[in-house]
């Protein structure tokens, strides 16, 4: 058995239960804190799967920036993000969609695991900054998608500022 199995299982359990809490929690602040736990568990999983650079990115971008941004927005909301309770029809539809999606995903993933998606001994060579950097910056690999994320972020900034100013108070 893999020596990493116990920590991987622990991180998976934490990720699942914190995600469940995000979905079911009534208070928005509690949901954000659960999202932080979820993000940390996912970062641990990345680190265990030999993806150190992605784990650091997850910690900095998700736990550090996005979750804190969510926290600020929830704190800015007038009633602390009070939410109407879901109607029974909505709950039924949501659970139905979740179950159907789960069945579809497991049907699709079955052949992938049966085909022997093994964790080979190649783990030591991947995940280095050099290797990931070559994937991101070598022409013909992921260079163009990576460069396109820069205008994407710029458009996101301009969009959110424009949205806020257009809707904003006359001041």
């Amino acid at each position: 058995m893999d020596v990493f199995f116990a920590p991987v299982l622990a991180a998976c359990v934490v990720a699942f239960f914190s995600a469940l809490f995000v979905v079911t929690a009534r208070g928005a602040i509690r949901a954000v804190v659960a999202l932080l736990a979820h993000s940390l568990a996912i970062a641990a999983l990345y680190a265990l799967l030999a993806a150190g650079l992605v784990a650091v990115g997850q910690l900095l971008i998700y736990s550090g920036a996005i979750v804190v941004l969510f926290l600020f927005v929830v704190a800015l909301l007038p009633p602390g993000g009070r939410e109407l309770s879901s109607q029974p029809l909505r709950v039924t539809a949501g659970i139905l969609v979740g179950l159907v999606l789960l069945a579809a995903l497991f049907t699709g993933l079955g052949p992938a695991t049966a085909g022997g998606l093994q964790l080979t001994g190649a783990g030591a060579e991947i995940g280095s900054v050099t290797g990931v950097g070559h994937q991101l910056f070598d022409a013909g690999k992921l260079l163009i998608p990576f460069e396109l994320t820069a205008p994407l972020l710029l458009v996101a900034i301009i969009g959110s500022v424009a949205l806020w100013r257009r809707q904003g108070a006359p001041s």
Partner: protein
């Protein structure tokens, strides 16, 4: 093998859970959090595939997905704030149109 199956089924369950949350919640901020869970589930499969294949491409793609998630969170939270400014308590079914 067991590790692979565990991580793969966790990510499938997380994706379905996030989709359920998007359907279930009426608060736009909570819906965005559920979308973040779905993005994390997808990223987990990318990283797992990268590890199984011994190839860095999956990890590089996961980094790009992180950037896209950040852009999505910024625009989504901006929309949520605009919704919350006028109506309270907020309900995503209520507004018929958002100017902007």
């Amino acid at each position: 093998m067991l590790t692979t199956v565990t991580v793969l089924s966790t990510s499938a369950v997380l994706f379905a859970l996030g989709a359920t949350g998007v359907m279930l919640r009426r608060n736009p901020v909570a819906m965005l959090m559920c979308v973040e869970i779905m993005l994390n589930a997808g990223n987990l499969v990318l990283v797992l595939g990268s590890r199984a294949q011994g190839n860095d491409a999956g990890q590089a793609t996961a980094l790009i997905v992180l950037v896209i998630a950040a852009a999505e969170a910024v625009v989504g939270l901006g929309l949520a704030l605009v919704l919350f400014r006028n109506r309270e308590p907020v309900d995503v079914d209520e507004p018929r149109a958002v100017r902007g």
